[in-house]
Amino acid sequence: MAGQPKSVRGTPLEAKDLHGGKTFTTSYVPRIYYAWDTGEAIGRYLEELKQGRLIARFCHRCQRTMIPPRMFCERCFRANDDWVYVQDTGRVNTFSLCYVSWDVQRLEEPEIPAVIEIDGATPGTGIMHKLGNVNPKDVRVGMRVRAVWKPAAERTGSITDIAYFEPMEEGGKGGAAKARPAKRSRG
């Protein structure tokens, strides 16, 4: 029997077909709750976020400073070596202006997700966050940005302890919101 089938099966339904009792349906809301262990690396990451700092891990073999931190290097597959503080400033690697929320609601003002390459980490190494305090029209790839931290009393040990990243002039310094401890080089 040569050739693609002459007809294809499938019974499309319109949204309205689901009401009126002709199409039989059931629904189910699964109760799925989790208690995830944060692990060594992210556990420390979150603790440092609560203190108003960003921390990374360093691999001697690859000579990479990695954020988010991880206890093993996924490239050379060995346990990596050191905890390293990095700065809370960086450069926008890419961004978007999103007018749709996670549950498909239309937004008036766009959210501005971005990948921000963090100063002090290996170039090209970034984290995802949102930009704020900026006109969406002014956002550019390559823009310098700094973290805007929530006040210490509001920080809980979460990535949202950084409220957003805002634009910063070239050569500017970070830590605008709160004074941070200076980098230490013990151990």
């Binding site: 019974t11 339904l13 009792g21 199409t23 039989f24 349906t25 059931t26 629904s27 189910y28 809301v29 699964p30 799925i32 709750y33 989790y34 208690a35 995830w36 262990d37 944060t38 692990g39 060594e40 992210i42 556990g43 420390r44 979150l46 603790e47 921390i55 360093f58 001697h60 073999r61 690859c62 000579q63 400073t65 050379c76 050191d82 905890w83 390293v84 503080y85 990095v86 002090g120 040990g157 980098k183 230490r184 080089s185 013990r186 151990g187």
Partner: protein
């Protein structure tokens, strides 16, 4: 067996060493992060389901489909035979009664809480079907009367209460003294 060639570890050219952070404070190394996955699942009954639930809702009947080649009657109705894969077009009305292929008394609910009265479940082989149907056993007086092979009858809700759901069958009761 082929010998695996060992590759030499490549160490990257050193870059200026970053300033090391302090060793972790002696608190617990990991915490717990709570989360959930918010979802609602919505199911259509499908082609086979439409046949079965339509018959149940409109006429209070239990309908299956027959595969002649495999000598099977599938209840609830299906549109294809899983064994030989042909399309099934012959509908068969089966009796709303049959025998227990198996049963259980469940003393816990789905969340693990103890039930006051056990929930009794049965696998019912309806007369005329080759499949068994899972449903509740109702009004179980003496548990000893619940036996494999016992005759059971379906209790079907009145038409006004039927919506086209498996719960249009209230459950099954043991047929007369046996």
């Amino acid at each position: 067996m082929k010998k695996v060639k060992k590759t030499r570890a490549v160490v990257a050219a050193p870059v200026a060493p970053p300033q090391r952070a302090a060793a972790p404070a002696p608190t617990r190394a990991s915490g717990v992060w709570p989360g959930s996955i918010p979802l609602e699942s919505f199911y259509t009954a499908g082609l086979g389901g439409q046949i079965f639930f339509q018959a149940l809702k409109e006429r209070g009947e239990l309908v299956g489909t027959r595969c002649k080649g495999c000598k099977q009657v599938y209840v609830p109705a299906r549109v294809f035979c899983e064994r030989c894969f042909v399309e099934l077009n012959e509908q068969v009305k089966v009796k709303a009664e049959g025998t227990l292929a198996s049963f259980t008394f469940s003393f816990y609910d789905r969340d693990g809480a103890r039930l006051g009265e056990p929930l009794v479940l049965g696998l019912v082989k309806l007369e005329g079907a080759t499949t068994v149907l899972l449903h509740r056993l109702l009004k179980v007086g003496d548990p000893a009367r619940v036996r494999i092979g016992a005759r059971v009858k379906a209790v079907i809700k009145p038409k006004a209460e039927r919506v086209g759901s498996i719960l249009d069958i209230e459950g099954f009761v043991l047929a007369q003294a046996g």
